[in-house]
Amino acid sequence: MAETSNASASEAQAPDAAAPLLDVRDLAVHFPIKRGVLLDRTVGHVYAVDGVSLQVRRGETYGLVGESGCGKSTLGRAILRLVDPTAGTVEFDGVDVAQLAGERLRTMRRRFQMVFQDPMSSLDPRQSVESLLREGIQAHGLSRGAEGDGARLRELVDSVGLPVAALRRYPHEFSGGQRQRIGIARALSVEPDLIVADEPVSALDVSVQAQVLNLLGRLQAELGLTYLVIAHDLAVVRHVSDRVGVMYLGGLVEEAPSQALYATRSTRTRRRCCRPSRCRTLIWRTAGSGSCSPATCRPRRHRRRGAVSTPAARGGSRRAATPNVPSCGWCRAHPTATGWPATGPRRSAAARCSHTGWSRRWRPMTCSGPALCPSTPVR
């Protein structure tokens, strides 16, 4: 675990090495579902993120994995205040970002930046690279005069492995991997402490993926950055992360040092390493359970198990009860359960859930296990 208590590049806030850089408590993001032609009625909510707590230490890489639709991107955006959280606190270096507004929020934004999934849609096609990079520097008053800025820009493109000539060019002139490098350079231009990378490599070719991952790793070592990496590819997350959180349906169902999370699967992984995609899936299936026998884990079995349930669909009925306490019997008995107990009624939990009458694809959050768990019989 890389606990490099690197002095942050920011003004002296007397960083306490022990305190986490980012401390998220009970964060919730609910989106209203509106109906109606003239008067919008709120008919329900999408519980995109619901009661997530996590800490990210200085200099650490925290990996966030989950299927699409599980709320991992929304969580990342809520932390950066790109969407406003419904409830909860996001303490960044001791300051609750969720409560900030106006100028204070704007100046705070310098310290946390985002690298987006699709570099083509996140870079303004009509701005040259130079102007893209300069914008943030000027907005945050980091300008050091024409000469100083020029040197800084050259240093930036150099640090992400692009030629200096790239400064004069426009985003469409670059390949996907190069564009992602520009996105990273833009995030770095304001000297942030935390970078949230939302699927930084999933839009890239395999051969280029490795280059970008290496770049992220090198920059972290050089600049003492803290990363929150959001991805659906478990192998990628394992490669870069110190700790990994697994999300399912808006909740964090498991969190562990990445070594520990993957260790239990290592023998099977090795056996299946000639089939990366399958073995990724296997781990998916068992990510929340911790204990399940390989025999029950054959991917075959998971056919027709259905897609990830939508946080909106489950919302209405489930949220009729008090928030965070699901109404299913087993879940009520284990309100704080994250993932599955090593021993316990996995199968019966599934049964108890279903008697509440929800169709099998709409399980409440803490019952995410059965939907993922290989021991649940296929219908």
Binding site: V206, A210, S266, T269, P276, S277, R280, W284, A307
Partner: protein
Amino acid sequence: MTTAQRTDDTRGGGPTAEPLLSVRDLRVAFQRKGEPETVAVDGVSFDVAPGQVVGLVGESGCGKSVTSMAIMRLLPERGVRVSGSVMMDGTDLLTLSDTQMRERRGRDMSMVFQDPLTSLNPVIPVGLQVTEVLRRHRGMNSDAARKAAVELLDRVGIPDPRRRLDSYPHQMSGGMRQRALIAIALACSPRLLIADEPTTALDVTIQAQILELLRELVRETGAALVMITHDLGVVAGLCETVNVLYAGRIVERAQRHRLFGTPRHPYTHGLLRSIPRMDSPQGEELPAIRGSVVDNVPWDHACAFAPRCPRSLDVCVEVTPAGETSGGRLLRCHNPVPASAE
């Protein structure tokens, strides 16, 4: 690691089963006024036997999608020059008229595209798009077609198919849309199915389901499947023979186990090593392939991969490597990775 010599090497030498599709020297060039022509596919040859799954792998821009479009004759006429031959049932698809080709598409051969949201018509219910094929090629009336469509949707694993017939594409999830697209492709039980990145837009879990579905369909119907993808994981789980494409040419072809066990071409070798693996040491620098596709040189008098190749020799930038077949493996390289290197 044992490199068990597999005896069933049908690819390189005389094929035991009569190939269903036989692509020879396929070459696709795009022409633009005042510019030298761009050769996207440069002499690709491969065979697909009934019931066989053949993979075409490569990074974006290597010509794999253009290959599939050329086989299906979906490329525009203007500005595109296609040469070579694509033999199916003793006829060269490239010489057929548009009308004849339209008769075959969807009936004898069909295609599953990458992004179901753009390849399904957004303003027509899914059911109509499935029945359209049946009515066109099988001459069914609308009732019979509807019944068949329900069966098809059920077969590809769409729950509540009767209701889903009236759904529009945007009302379905990505996985379900992809299933619907597969149902359309399968409507007339084609003997050849070309899947162009069928899982790229999907989640890992859904991806596994779709791959399993394709695998099952090939097993049940005996159709031949050409799987086009950039994801080596998909290929590893599905394809028997794998063709690795680089800059429009096949640089390596081998049986799956041999290709993944002992990759010989530096490109294949590099690709396999650059993927973070579950059992690789954590946090270490990944051995990435340097540069990107834009660094290619033309194949005319060099190896296109030479500028990025860690094993390139002087000869690599002077002479085009010829494709050599030995022991069922096609290899286009002057200085391949030794067989015992992995």
